[in-house]
């Protein structure tokens, strides 16, 4: 053993860097670039779009808005109305399905519960475009199920087909009920059973307990999920596109843009953004106003067992149906990925199968190119997201500075903006060279899609990192400083490794989201940088279902892998990133 040192060790030389990092204004050195990036790629494009919508021939004018709300050509108003009512109905259907599922799976024990509670999150593994396409293949006018029933029952025509608004609604329900399911099931898990007991002890019966205790306790979760689903439904683009509903806000923006009416596209975008931002604010406000989860700790929810024979059979059959409905979309994509292109016409199932599509994916340079493109562009975007997200999360969780709330809101803003709007904003901002694009025209270049992905997925790494940072004790960091580590050394050796699981989970998620991105891509892609999702769309319209679905299978496999890995990494807390 060494003798204890009696003289203090020499204090390390304070260099210029150290004096910067120890200055109270250091925090502004860190956050200034963050604000600059947000200004350049979120606020400025948004503002440009707004300017375009209120400028006509160089002068300020509200003509575009007058046109939008004009009662002569009501297509815009109709679109607004359709978007709103599809969204309201989506909230209702998703709410009923999601909350019911949460209660069944959290409160009852029945045969098949375990399997169902794993598969209930399957819709999250479907990339947006592929998810909608699978419904078209399964239940659409030439879908497998309607045709199958027609054959089985010897009918003249299919007994039902999924189309129009109903199609959109069913797809929305399937893909978005998970938001209700997740918030409701965690609220139910957090429900302290002793509250119900207290109510029973005071004389309340089952019904009163439901009405006065359980439902009010779930209200915050349900309201939060409703706002979220409404927002996402308003932004929904793929489902109306595939089911041919042109009169929705997102479709109108797309049509205005492809018809070259950029003024109108800007106007529509601005209005849709206002709605989305209002909802974002409403959601934020509501979350802070009401929160009564988990006043007590370490409680276990008691599951009621379905005991009667009849009940068991019924629940078995229903679970089986549930599993089937949840799995069919993925199964049909996998099946079609093996079908030969162009051979499936009027049969119930594709008649002939081949492995070629999967071989081609990786060997044929023509089919490989979109995959390579998507990977390149998504990696570029994700590197940006990674640096930005980690820095922003650290600043917000660990530092004190003026404008913290503003930073937080600005980061969440792109998440509230529909992909279509993000695309339109970027188009208006970067069709001409300016300082933020370093004097380049970005539209039509390689960089526009990575930029769009960067903006759309800005919150992902930020959220997952900040939630892990919040769970780590800041005194560990202080201990490192106390032992003589510089700020940067502490960050590298202590903060970063501690938050690594969250950072990785968010990064992987941003990467696959980028690879699957469709909504902004379809408005911004160039022929040299076609991404996978746009390629799928084009193959679909060339009736090359097999190739399209092979791409889809690739995307699904990647998403499932990422979900699995991030669950491992964060011990099931990755939900915070989504």
């Amino acid at each position: 053993m060494n003798k204890p040192q009696l003289t203090p060790p020499p204090v390390r030389q304070t260099g210029r860097w150290t004096s910067i990092t120890t200055s109270p204004n250091f925090v502004y050195v860190l956050i200034a670039p963050l604000f600059l990036i947000l200004l350049a790629y979120v606020i400025y494009p948004f503002f440009q779009t707004f300017l375009q919508s209120v400028k006509l021939d160089g002068a300020l004018s509200l003509k575009n808005y007058a046109k939008f709300f004009s009662l002569e050509h009501t297509s815009n108003l109709e679109a607004l109305w359709t978007s709103v009512y599809i969204s309201v109905l989506s909230v209702l259907t998703c709410g009923i399905v999601g909350v019911a599922m949460a209660f069944l799976l959290e409160r009852y024990e029945f045969p098949g519960r375990k399997l169902l509670s794993v598969l209930v999150l399957v819709p999250m593994a479907l990339p947006p475009l592929i998810g909608v396409l699978s419904f078209e293949f399964l239940y659409g006018s030439s879908g497998i199920i309607p045709r199958g029933l027609q054959h089985l029952l010897h009918l003249e025509k299919p007994p039902f087909t999924l189309k129009g608004i109903w199609g959109v609604l069913v797809v929305h329900t399937f893909t978005m009920y998970t938001y209700f399911y997740m918030t409701a099931s965690s609220a139910i898990k957090g429900l302290d059973p002793s509250l119900e007991e207290a109510a029973a002890n005071l004389g309340a019966g089952r019904l009163t307990i439901w009405r006065r205790v359980i439902l009010p306790m779930l209200t915050p979760a349900i309201v939060a999920a409703s706002l979220l689903v409404f927002m996402i439904s308003m932004a929904s683009y793929t489902a109306p596109l595939i089911f041919g509903i042109e009169r929705t806000m997102t479709m109108q923006i797309y049509l205005s843009r492809t018809n070259g009416d950029l003024d109108m596209a800007a106007t529509q975008s601005t209005l849709l953004s206002i709605v989305s931002i209002l909802f974002l604010i409403l959601m934020r406000w509501y979350q802070s106003a009401r929160n009564y989860q988990n006043m007590s700790k370490g409680v276990s929810v008691h599951r009621t067992e379905v005991k009667s024979k009849a009940g068991q059979y019924v629940s078995m059959v229903l679970s089986f149906l549930g599993v089937l409905i949840l799995m069919l979309p993925i199964l049909v994509i996998v099946l079609l990925a093996f079908s030969e292109d162009g051979k499936w016409t009027t049969q119930v199932l594709p008649p002939s199968y081949t492995l070629d599509h999967f071989k081609d994916l990786f060997t044929d340079s023509k089919t490989w190119r979109p995959i390579a493109n998507s990977f390149k562009m998504s990696i570029a975007a994700t590197i940006g997201n990674l640096i930005f997200g980690v820095a922003a999360a650290y600043a917000i969780v660990r530092m004190n500075f003026k404008g913290k709330t503003l930073l937080d809101i600005l980061i969440m803003l792109p998440w509230a903006l529909p992909g279509t709007v993000v695309a339109v904003n970027l188009i208006t901002a970067f069709s001409e060279p300016n300082v933020f694009s370093f004097g380049q025209v970005l539209i039509g270049s390689f960089w526009i899609l990575p930029l769009a992905y960067f903006v759309r997925h800005l919150p992902l790494i930020f959220r997952s990192t900040s939630s892990t940072l919040m769970q780590t004790d800041r005194s560990v960091e202080e201990a490192a400083r106390n032992l003589g580590a510089s700020w940067w050394y502490t960050f590298r050796r202590v903060v970063f490794p501690m938050a690594l699981s969250g950072i990785l989970a968010g990064t992987l998620l941003a990467l696959v989201e980028g690879i699957g991105e469709f909504v902004a891509s379809i408005l911004l892609y160039t022929n040299r940088t076609t991404p996978v999702s746009v390629e799928i769309f084009q193959r679909m319209y060339a009736f090359e279902f097999g190739t399209a679905c092979a791409y889809g299978v690739l995307q699904i496999v990647m998403i499932i892998l990422v979900l699995y890995v991030s669950r491992k990494l964060t011990g099931g807390n990755a939900g915070s990133a989504i």
């Binding site: 029973a200 002890n201 019966g205 205790v213 009564y292 007590s296």
Partner: protein
């Protein structure tokens, strides 16, 4: 005010044992306490009385009425939960009013009763507060008011003080006792804290591993513990093992070490204890019963000469741990004009013969 009877009640959880064969009769207006270490089945027993568990065996009666399988909302018991279980989405007023609303009382009556209940627990003016705006002690009192306002037949309290800090615990303890005396309500109180149980209860039931050890007044339990577990769980005690040398008469002589024999009285023996010559026996002696040997008593009956291992001054008392041969002696001197001994000094104790209790 109502009598509560547990008639040979047992509860198993699947294969696991909860409680076994609890057989008690709680008198109207009595303050009855379940006492025991954590996991001994206190909560389980209380929850059977409230109706949250149904016994696997035995009957529960309120007065003459068999309530064994009655649902909890029909029992009219007022329960204070360990974590309070206040409804976080309601105000203080709404929480207290809940039970009355369930009972379909008129608005005026509810307002009246809730206001009175708030006064009772010193929370007047807090009606509009949200639950998360209250301190732990205030939440505790809301829970108490909510349980009392329905005028329950029985008040059930499950470790109501365990989430409070020491000072508040003392105050709240006295408050609960005061309310119980004022209202004269039959009260069943669960705690693992023996001093809480001793100071509040009319009678105490001591439990261990789901089995009842002793039922009695605090005085009984302290002075006449039926076994070693009760003797050591309630208060401090010297537990010495020895062999009976001479029994039969009023006096019992027990050899503890080759050169130490103590004499006790045969009447001070637990019913579980058999006193016959040659029998192994355990003696329980409370530290405060031991005193310093005066000049006249040196070498007399029940005198112990020991070496101080640890001495501490608490203000109220002098506490010693001393060693004589293999035997450790805990002694506590209160208010005796007494010179404090340091470590390794010799001290002479007298163990009065009436203070020796044979626990078997």
């Amino acid at each position: 005010m109502i009598e509560v009877t547990l008639d040979r009640v047992s509860k198993q959880f699947g294969g696991a044992k909860g409680v076994e064969n609890v057989d008690i009769r709680i008198k109207p207006g009595e303050f009855f306490t379940f006492l025991g270490p954590s996991g001994c089945g206190k909560t389980t027993t209380l929850r059977m009385i409230a109706g949250f568990y149904y016994p696997s065996d035995g009957r529960i009666l309120f007065g003459d009425r068999d309530v064994t399988n009655m649902p909890p909302n029909k029992r009219n018991t007022g329960m204070v939960f360990q974590n309070y279980a206040l409804f976080p989405h309601m105000t203080v007023f709404e929480n207290i009013a809940f039970g009355l609303q369930v009972r379909k009382k008129s608005k005026a009556e509810i307002r009246d009763k809730v206001t009175r209940a708030q006064k009772l627990v010193h929370l007047d003016g807090y009606g509009d507060r949200r639950i998360d705006q209250l301190s732990g002690g205030q939440q505790q009192r809301v829970a108490l008011a909510r349980a009392l306002v329905i005028e329950p037949n029985i008040l059930l309290l499950d470790e109501p003080l365990s989430n409070l800090d020491a000072k508040l615990r003392e105050e709240t303890r006295q408050e609960i006792k005061r309310l119980q005396l004022e209202l004269g309500i039959t009260t069943i109180y669960v705690t693992h804290d023996q001093s809480e149980a001793m100071s509040m209860s009319d009678r105490i039931m001591v439990m261990k591993d789901g089995v009842v050890q002793q039922i009695g007044t605090p005085h009984d339990i302290y002075n006449r513990p039926v076994n070693q577990f009760v003797a050591s769980f309630i208060g401090e005690s010297n537990l010495w093992e020895g062999t009976v040398e001479q029994a039969g008469g009023d006096e019992i002589r027990v050899r503890l070490t080759p050169d130490l024999v103590l004499t006790g009285l045969a009447v001070n023996a637990s019913p579980e204890c058999r006193l016959a010559a040659g029998q192994k026996v355990t003696l329980s002696v409370r530290p405060e019963a031991i005193h310093e040997a005066g000049a006249a008593e040196q070498g007399g009956e029940n005198a112990i000469t020991a070496k101080v291992v640890l001495s501490e001054f608490t203000g109220v008392s002098m506490n010693y741990i001393a060693q004589t041969g293999p035997l450790a002696v805990k002694a506590m001197f209160v208010g005796q004009g007494h010179r404090m001994r340091e470590r390794d000094e010799t001290i002479r104790f007298i163990v009065p013969r009436e203070s020796i209790y044979f626990v078997g």
